[in-house]
């Protein structure tokens, strides 16, 4: 009866998985770094996992070689759903993969594989949607700033996309719910934890002008004979409108 507590997200989790494999242990649960330890009622022990990049990379290599790169990518997406029991699910997924090898690619009808697949697709879908939904605003401090409140933890999927795309300006994408941010300093991007915004952001003059132009353009592009707010809401759910400038009232 053992539980494993890991730090640092996916990398840490892979280290925990590696250790379980080495120990030959069947874990009863995984704890994320921030979770408080519950009272130890059943004599369970909690094993603390130190994150080691090399260990994580080795496990990644091993799984990709045994199964496939897409199967690993799916697991990574699924992990970032942060669903409550996702670690045990992925533990079963990883061990199944190491046991069955390439065949796992065909086992789409297996209960665990199907669940991981579905979770993974959900996160990948949300990350794709947010590649469109990010709205950068130019702050007086001289960088582009975007707020988001996605359901899954998708910053790691968004940041590389925007490094490619907006490489000539420093920027920050701020996940408000998780108080974390991806920042880019013209050389590389980093993930920062514990990022809170202390005051209301101050926008540049050009920013205000762009916002206004975009809002008017957006309004005009709708064809009134085709008015269909339900369809619009299917694509842009109310929860993702909070930081979309085109849905803010025009000043």
């Amino acid at each position: 009866m053992q539980r494993y507590r890991y730090q640092d997200g996916f990398e840490g989790f892979l280290c925990a998985v590696s250790l379980c494999l080495v120990d030959g242990a069947e874990p009863t649960g995984f704890l994320r770094g921030t979770v408080e330890t519950e009272p130890d009622l059943f004599g369970e022990t909690v094993i603390e996992i130190a994150t080691d990049r090399q260990t994580a990379l080795q496990f990644r290599e091993r799984f990709m070689k045994a199964v496939s790169q897409p199967a690993f990518a799916t697991a990574r997406y699924a992990f970032h759903s942060q669903r409550a029991d996702v670690e045990l699910l992925l533990w079963r997924y990883f061990t199944l993969g190491l046991k069955t090898g390439k065949r796992m690619g065909n086992m789409l009808a297996d209960r665990d594989v199907a669940t991981v697949d579905k979770l993974g697709r959900g996160v990948a879908h949300e990350a794709h949607k947010y590649k469109g939904f990010i709205r950068f605003r130019e702050l007086k401090q001289g960088f582009l700033y975007a707020c988001i409140e996605p359901q899954a933890d998708i910053l790691v999927f968004l940041a590389p996309h925007f490094v490619q795309r907006i490489g000539d300006r420093p920027w920050m994408i701020h996940d408000m719910q998780r108080a974390q941010a991806a920042i880019y300093d013209l050389k590389q991007w980093r993930l920062l934890q514990g990022v809170e915004s202390s005051s209301t952001p101050e926008y540049t003059q050009i920013e205000e002008e762009c916002t206004e132009l975009w809002q008017h353009y957006f309004k005009r592009m709708a064809i009134k004979e085709r008015y269909n707010p339900k369809l619009q809401q299917q694509h842009v759910p109310l929860r993702s409108r909070k930081y979309l400038v085109e849905f803010e009232p025009i000043k």
Binding site: Q164, G167, L213, F218, I223, E225, R226, Q234, H235
Partner: protein, 441 residues
Amino acid sequence: MTFYVPKQYYTFYMSNLDLKQRLEILADSAKYDVSCSSSGSNRKGVPGGVGNTASSGICHTWTADGRCISLLKILLTNSCLYDCAYCVNRNSNPIQRTALTPDEVVRLTMDFYRRNYIEGLFLSTGVFHSADHTMEQLILVARKLRLEERFNGYIHMKVVPGADSQLIRQIGLYADRVSINIELPSSRSLQLLAPDKTRQSLIAPMRQLSGLIETSRQERKQSRKAPQFAPAGQSTQLIIGATPESDLEIIRLSEVLYQRLAMKRVYYSAFVPVSSDNRLPAMAVPPLLREHRLYQADWLLRFYGFAAHELLDQNNPNLDMRLDPKTGWAMRHLELFPVEVNRADYEVLLRVPGIGVRSAQRIVVARREGRLKEEELKRLGVVLSRARYFITADGRYLGGIKLDGPELLTRLTAPKRRKAALDQLELFPPSAAVTAITGEL
């Protein structure tokens, strides 16, 4: 009122409207062009540069009519020499005329792109002065974006019919996608509503584009240094419901365009009455359902191995509004069903109503590992509401009722019941098949 001439070669005057007002007017004039996609091109960003393209395309927002915005869709000017009856910008329409300068378009594109409002630019225009002159202005914008701003995002450029073939050759060097709109599905309609244009004057440049795209593709197979020409191909648009063509004529035309001109997309635009011209039908609402059915049929041509003559013929020249065209086809061929999901070829699975490309692929893969029954199909994410009447799973027919035409038709066209409360527990419900409407793939 004061006037100024923004460029010495503009032959008309712009009133002194500010940028916001001109943007609004030109958005109004551009919005009936339905092409929105930013897909089909995959260009990497350069270090420290601006822009890249994603081959899947990315939608950035959706307007109140439920259509996606992916590109800054705008006209350079809504001033036009032509008088096409169906067009909001026709010469005789008493709307306000204005223009943006090439520099203004470039600035708007860059400002909007940096803020991630858009994937890039879709630039169209009314024809002013001459086809060649108009085309030169479009090329100027594209060149500025690519060379001066080092912009690597998506560019979709309208090609002006009648422009010199050398100019057409140039635009494809900067644009990801190029398009010429046929608009009216038959020559006789074109003659009636757009007397300034002929079918030939539209098809000839489309053919040239198709040739240039193909040549560039071949050359790039030999050498990666060969210049790209419109890597995302060309598209066109047909207006639906302004003229009396049947769905059969429309789908046949699309089929020819896909086969002969390697068209990437044909867009269908339900006619919105933008004038009260007596050559046009009086309509209260645009034929949106018909437009939707045509998109479904179009998808069947491109991804499901259907031919136009299988979907429609002289006896059934129009799509059934009650059923999607694949179900319509299956209802006329009940003798082919049910099919066994564990044995049927991929091509056969694709023809089962309710089974899409992704489901068919997953079935083919998953059945290598074991027999698929109803439960397994559900786990694969196959939606059975329609499919169940057309398949057996491990020998068991899932439809419950005997496959008989009238009764089945009643079932399939019955209004959808509310989903059971259980469904709401799902974390990530599969997104609806509405992608076909927005045109994103």
